[in-house]
């Protein structure tokens, strides 16, 4: 109830044409030369002081990438990306690694403050503990390099490894080598292969056997340097019986050029393990004419490798000019479970092509897909999903529900479900609806005293409620605000 109220206030408080987080921080950065060659990759690898095997891994990806073509099947259109005109590495300049929070560039800290991110441990502790005692550990990614990691000690006591992946490559090479690329192979797709070649940094999480991670893990991404593609790489492993909840959220400064973002996220859940991965994405969507904005080509995949394991994706997508993203689950272990809860909102000239894949390989595997697409303005919003049952996936079950809501008459919503079953005992259910916010609903709400914007916010919040409930508390409120902010100006 208060969240709805807040939503409404949020809509009011924000200027329509002004992207709230569109500021630019001036920090000297160390860049790799423009363009992409083997030398660029050697540069990145050397910068990160990587072992030889990592460099080889990258180079192999790069060679492969050169033979690949950009996919064209998604319902999005954008001008050709000049890959040789981009910078593939930039890091905030520093002499040595930061020893403490005081070593961090005050400019960076200020940027985070503007975003309201509780980077300092103290702030995080105060801020979070007052709202119910749960803690959030933040591994903040500023451009390409992680600048601070909090709560490290408490996590270490539990045996949880949570650190920038560049550090993990040096400190836990066996773990990284064992799992990196094991869910999203180097050769998986154009963007994932590009990422494999040039990934700059990201998070690494390992939760040991039987450990329930004592806090929510959270990473905030920001894209800050002009013309710098951001290539995050995240790897999360929950060993047998482990549990971890990971939150990811991001905003980016306003700029004119389109920015390429091609992240890869890999999740591995061993037997009886559970991973919950939540995203609130609010990257710059472009101005009101559709100029600028982030191109977001993401490969996210979870492998339910062990029996009875569970992976759950929850996403709230409101930003980016182009979104190309299909968080998926490979249900390899018997009785494993995959879930996908999504809210995808497009306004202005945004294009969203998003959905999920549930690949049932093991026996009695189950999956659930709840997707809520909301299209407003001139945007296009496509749900694209695959549910498949392998020959051996006896007793596989899926339930899919895709609802689309249209606001106005210049936007489009599309649902493209693929269903493949090679096992006759598999049961797949698919429900889909497309609706418009009806005049009757608006009239009813307004007759009770709500103005058109309040009424729309209320109706949309109702529409996405099933998914919002899946988010951790900290994110649910933020997500609710974002939803209304993203839709502002959509009511005529």
């Amino acid at each position: 109830m208060p969240a709805v109220q807040e939503t409404v206030e949020q809509v009011r408080s924000i200027d329509v044409d002004q992207y709230k987080y569109g500021f630019f921080t001036d920090i000297e950065s160390e860049k790799a030369p423009k363009g992409l060659t083997e030398d660029t990759i050697r540069f990145i690898s050397a910068k990160k002081d990587e072992p030889e095997w990592m460099l080889e891994w990258r180079l192999e990806a790069f060679r492969r990438w050169q033979t690949m073509r950009e996919p064209e099947w998604a319902r999005v259109s954008y001008p050709p990306i000049a890959y040789q005109e981009l910078y593939y590495y930039s890091a905030p300049k520093r002499k040595d690694g930061p020893k403490s929070i005081d070593d961090i560039d005050p400019e960076i800290l200020k940027t985070y403050e503007k975003l309201g991110i509780p980077l300092r441990e103290r702030d995080a502790l105060l801020g979070i503990e007052s709202t119910g005692g749960s803690k959030v550990a933040v591994d903040a990614v500023f451009d390409s390099v992680s600048v601070a990691t909090t709560f490290k000690e408490e996590l270490a006591r539990a045996g949880v490894i949570f650190m920038p992946i560049s550090e993990a490559i040096r400190e836990y090479p066996e773990l990284v080598r064992k799992y990196l690329g094991s869910v999203v192979p180097v050769t998986d797709n154009f963007f994932a292969t590009l990422n494999s070649a040039v990934f700059s940094d990201g998070s690494f999480v390992y939760v040991p056997k039987g450990v329930r991670c004592p806090m929510e893990l959270s990473t905030y991404f920001r894209i800050n340097e002009r013309n710098t593609g951001q290539f995050e790489r995240t790897l999360i492993i929950a060993d047998e019986g482990a549990y971890v909840s990971y939150l990811e959220g991001c905003t980016a400064p306003m700029r004119d050029e389109n920015q390429l973002h091609a992240a890869v996220v890999e999740l591995v859940a061993l037997a009886d393990a559970e991973i919950k991965y939540s995203t609130v994405q609010n990257w710059y969507p472009g101005d009101k004419d559709g100029k600028g904005g982030i191109f977001n080509f993401v490969t996210k995949r979870g492998d339910c490798r062990g029996d009875r394991s569970k992976i759950s994706w929850t996403q709230v997508e409101t930003g980016s000019a182009i979104t190309w993203k299909y968080p998926s689950c490979i249900l390899r272990g018997d009785e494993s479970r995959g879930e996908f809860y999504s809210i995808a909102i497009s306004n202005g000239h945004q294009q969203v092509d998003s959905g999920t894949k549930m690949i049932h390989l093991g026996k009695n595997t189950t999956s659930r897909i709840i997707s809520k697409g909301i299209a407003a303005g001139h945007s296009d919003n496509t749900y694209r999903g695959l549910v498949s049952a392998h020959r051996k996936a006896t007793g596989a079950r899926n339930f899919t529900n895709c609802d689309s809501l249209l606001i106005g008459d210049k936007c489009g919503a599309h649902t493209v479900p693929y269903i493949e079953s090679k096992n006759s005992s598999a049961q797949f259910e698919h429900e889909a609806t497309t609706s418009k916010i009806s005049e009757d609903q608006l009239f009813y709400c307004r007759q009770r005293g709500l103005d058109p914007e309040e009424a729309t916010a209320l109706i949309v919040n109702g529409f996405v409620k099933d998914v919002l409930q899946q988010l951790p508390m900290e994110f649910a409120v933020e997500a609710q605000k974002l939803i209304s902010v993203s839709l502002e100006g959509s009511v005529g």
Partner: protein, 254 residues
């Protein structure tokens, strides 16, 4: 001047050439009064309620409506609500995923804000809604469900009355509130409405049948036909209509 003054109101469906639905309707409602409007289907009863509430599909071609001397027709829908106009819908609309509790609190605070009043605090609101809901036999569980989603006809009507009780409007318009109600539900709803009768509140009760008026006894009864009020009287007029039907008015109109 009466609280609500409807003077020679002519209206048609927006964009529809020619055909008027209201053809010179005149009515005054004062605080404390309950006016019943009766009439056959298609006489324009529901149109009148929609126009008072501000539904955008209609176009007023002539005449005026004032509330406390202010031009009602110039006001936005939500502005009218904040000024105290409440319409209990014949077919209440579903708002999936929005709990009735949330809906009502948002509505109440939106109205209060427009009137320059403080928002109601959470404890005060909970106290208010629990008390009003209990009077209407509405459970806490129902308040948590989506607005009108999965409710029976009777439950929906009770919810409309609950909303009315919480929003405390100045002018209540009940559009065929009795339709789809069995006798028990009719009693509960009527009791709810009667409890809201007050010296500073006016009501317009639109109905096709007299039976509602056994429970909500009106001060005035108006017969509406073919877009205007053709006869007015006291509560006994309703009984006469019940006995004789609308035939004589329809013939005289034709």
């Amino acid at each position: 001047m009466a609280m609500l003054e409807i003077d020679n109101l002519h209206a048609k469906i927006e964009g529809d050439e020619g055909r008027e639905i209201l053809k010179g309707l005149t009515l005054q409602v004062n605080p404390g009064e309950v006016h019943a409007i009766m009439g056959p289907n298609g006489s324009g009863k529901s149109t009148l309620s929609y126009i008072l509430a501000g539904k955008e599909d209609y176009e007023v071609t002539e005449g005026s409506v004032t509330l406390d001397g202010e031009d009602l027709l110039e006001m936005e829908i939500d502005e009218r609500a904040a000024k105290g106009v409440f319409l209990a819908f014949q077919y209440p609309i579903e708002v999936p995923g929005v709990a009735t509790m949330t809906f009502l609190r948002s509505a109440l605070n939106a109205q209060r804000k427009k009137r320059g009043e403080e928002e109601v605090s959470t404890p005060d609101f909970l106290r208010l809604i629990r008390e009003r809901a209990a009077n209407l036999g509405i459970s806490q569980d129902m308040l948590k469900r989506g607005v009108n989603v999965g409710f029976s006809g009777g439950e929906k009507k009770r919810m409309e009355i609950l909303q009315m009780a919480v929003l405390e409007p100045k002018l209540c318009i009940l559009d065929e509130t009795d339709s789809g109600l069995d006798i028990d539900a009719l009693k509960i709803v009527s009791e709810g409405v009667n409890a809201l009768r007050s010296p500073d509140r006016g009501m317009i009760v639109i109905t096709h049948y007299q039976r509602l008026l056994n429970h909500i006894v009106p001060d005035f009864v108006h017969v509406m036909n073919n877009g205007r009020i053709v006869r007015s009287g006291g509560k006994e007029l309703a009984l006469e209509l019940e006995a004789n039907g609308y035939a004589e008015y329809q013939q005289s109109a034709a």
